[in-house]
């Protein structure tokens, strides 16, 4: 049983991970080559060996593509070198970002689902609001994020809330769209059944529409939770002076510390993947008995 799982799940991951690592090192060699050669040229080193070249390419101070071991050692150093609450510990920044992302996600889920319900249940909202919900998403966040931060800052909200609001702005949309679709996907015959019971809107919603919308909802939630992390990071850029993975990305970018950028990137990817995974876990827990269908 256990070895079976190992074979079917871990082996492929391991094989693919190895392949990706190999590609990565090759890529690092390739992308960093011009810099290395430039370095050799400027140092007038005419005779260099291939191993010397590789060693250099894999240990550039400002690599175009840092190697995984460079990133790993930077991360280990940051994670173990300082207490968790220290500003130089990456986990501290991850927690800051996760905090605003999750708050925003929570708000986004509530807003997204409420909007979807409104759109599905109230005809006026459907025809007049939906197009504007869509339009709202075509406004680039990065452009309005600073204004949101400034305006909310002046009303007296600073710190977590402006960031959460931007997260929410990004993640309510996939939820609304997915839920609208999902809530309308209930089987017409099942809807008729509810009608014959003269179930009220709420009962139809909880007993039929919501269960049939769940596959759509969870697909959207996975996208939304990833978007909420993006939102939190975007929101940390204008307030670049403060904490969070976005601030790390920004300052890394500003000071050309590629390795720092990449470790923040890896950390944010890990953060969203684990959040997506959590949603998947919830999905498995919530969506039961939905496999066969009729025969």
């Amino acid at each position: 049983m256990m070895t079976e799982r190992l074979r079917t799940h871990l082996l492929p991951v391991a094989v693919m991970a190895l392949a990706v690592l190999a590609l990565w090192y090759a890529g690092a060699l390739w992308l960093n080559a011009p810099q290395v050669l430039d370095g050799f040229a400027r140092a007038h080193t005419d005779h260099w060996t291939l191993s010397e070249f590789a060693r250099q390419a894999f240990s550039q101070k400002r690599p175009i593509l840092p190697t995984p071991d460079q990133i790993a050692s930077e991360m280990v150093q940051s994670l173990t070198g300082y207490p968790v609450t220290h500003v130089r510990n990456l986990l501290f920044h991850t927690a800051v970002t996760a905090g605003s992302a999750l708050t925003g996600f929570g708000m986004g889920v509530v807003l997204g689902i409420l909007l979807a319900i409104g759109i599905v249940q109230v005809k006026t909202l459907e025809s007049s609001l939906l197009p504007w919900v869509i339009t709202s998403q075509t406004i680039p966040v990065l452009a309005i994020a600073p204004m949101v931060v400034v305006i909310l800052g002046n009303i007296g909200f600073s710190g977590l809330l402006p960031k959460a609001v931007i997260s929410m702005y990004l993640c309510f949309f996939p939820i609304t769209i997915g839920m609208v679709k999902g809530l309308r996907s209930a089987d017409p015959l099942s809807l008729d059944l509810m009608r014959t019971y003269s179930a009220n809107g709420q009962q139809t919603f909880w007993l039929l529409r919501l269960p049939s919308a769940l596959p759509y909802l969870f697909t959207s939630l996975k996208i939304a939770v990833a978007a909420s992390v993006v939102g939190a990071i975007v929101a940390e850029l204008p307030t670049g002076g403060q904490a969070g993975l976005g601030a790390r990305l920004l300052s890394g970018s500003y000071y050309g510390q590629t390795v720092q950028i990449w470790s923040a990137l890896v950390m944010s990817a890990l953060l969203s993947v684990s959040l997506v995974w959590l949603i998947g876990l919830m999905e498995r827990f919530v969506v039961t008995g939905k496999r066969g269908g009729t025969r």
Binding site: S127, S128, P131, I134, I139, P140, I223, S253, S268, V273
Partner: protein, 369 residues
């Protein structure tokens, strides 16, 4: 067809009656009342008259038109006040009047919700106009500095005066970066999802890594992509590819899983191979999900391109325009660019929604409301 019994109107718009005794605003430090502003009083009378005459209308359309007149004259009043040099920001009467008018607008929208054909678009248009009016009234009424938020009228004025720039930006960002990035990104997400669905080994190995890679936020990728692919559209397209990949992947995978067991059994009983089953059964089943992904991506792609342009561009592009004009305090140009982005994005989305309606007319979500 429909049982057109018009639902009764809730009495809420009548809150505008409360406005009558309240002041309209301040002029030279003194409160202004209705008799001192005859033009506004006339608007008010028109609004009330529309409410009164509503009972005489026969069809929802005529009622909507009549009530809209009432809303329109309410919207006119703050501008009349401003033209007379009155500061309406502290005039409770003005705001109460406008509040009643917005409730009235809601009624108009409800009446228009049943429309079909081209008139279907009247509702959302009025809703949008209402939002813009509110924005105009608030920015002008409260004298919000234009470096914070310009009123829509000045944004509108900026569009023709900066038409050339806006068009160049559109070409650079949309035609070069977005189109290519979107096609490649959605295509790749789709193909990888199908492959992953086909080859479980690949799926189990690649999906976690794929998820990891595509979970990297745009703002983080953009500088890296600029580093790798240079300043021109290539780096923007790369950002879009990465951004759109994940939603497409997830949606395609979810869509491919929706075929019912009995439908799959049917295919099996025909000895239909993988390709046939995919083409004839699983893809049609997945279409609603595919469109879901395509629609979400259509908005993401535009955002991605604009965000990526914040991190270095040639001196053209919508992201470039927004970031530089913000710093130059030309907020009207910024919002004009945002408007172009919004119109483009909505058009893209609308096109996809139309295609969806055509291709998945069988889906319960379109079949029955």
């Amino acid at each position: 067809m429909s049982k057109t019994t018009r639902s009764e109107m809730a009495p809420w718009p009548l809150v505008m009656l409360i406005a009558a005794p309240l002041p309209l605003g301040l002029l030279d430090g003194a409160a202004i009342y209705w008799p001192q502003a005859p033009a506004v009083a006339l608007c008010y009378a028109v609004s009330l008259l529309c409410l009164l005459l509503r009972g005489l209308t026969r069809t929802p359309r005529t009622e909507a038109a009549l009530l809209f007149l009432g809303v329109a004259s309410a919207c006119l009043s703050p501008f009349l006040l401003l033209a007379d040099g009155v500061d309406p920001s502290s005039g409770a009467g003005t705001w109460m009047y406008l509040f009643g008018a917005s409730l009235l607008l809601w009624r108009v929208l409800a009446l228009l919700a049943e429309e079909t054909g081209l008139l279907r678009w009247l509702g959302p248009t009025l809703f949008g106009l209402g939002l813009l009016m509110g924005w105009e009234i608030i920015t002008r009424g409260f004298a919000v500095p234009s470096v914070l938020l310009p009123p829509p009228s000045s944004i509108l004025a900026a569009i023709p005066t900066h038409g050339g720039e806006l068009w160049d930006d559109f070409c650079q960002t949309v035609l070069k970066s977005v189109v290519r990035g979107y096609l490649i990104g959605c295509g790749a997400g789709f193909v990888v999802a199908v492959l992953a669905d086909r080859l479980p080994f690949l799926a189990r190995g690649l999906l976690p890594l794929g998820n990891l890679a595509s979970a990297i936020p745009v703002v983080g990728i953009a500088p890296v992509m600029v580093m790798w692919f240079g300043f021109d559209w290539q780096s923007k397209a790369a950002v879009i590819v990465i951004m759109t990949f994940f939603p497409m992947l997830i949606n395609t995978l979810a869509g491919l899983a929706t075929a019912e067991k009995i439908q799959l059994d049917l295919m099996r009983s025909y000895g239909a191979g993988y390709g046939k089953t995919l083409w004839l059964l699983r893809l049609p089943c997945a279409l609603p999900f595919l469109f879901n992904g395509l629609k979400i991506n259509s908005t993401l792609a535009l955002i991605g391109a604009i965000v990526a342009e914040f991190f270095g561009t040639p001196v053209v592009g919508m992201g470039f325009r927004i970031s530089t004009e913000v710093a130059r305090m030309n907020l009207d140009v910024v919002w004009a660019t945002i408007t172009v982005a919004a119109v483009t994005g909505s058009a893209l989305y609308g096109g996809l929604a139309l295609a969806e309606r055509r291709l998945t007319a069988w889906h319960p979500s379109f079949r029955k409301r």
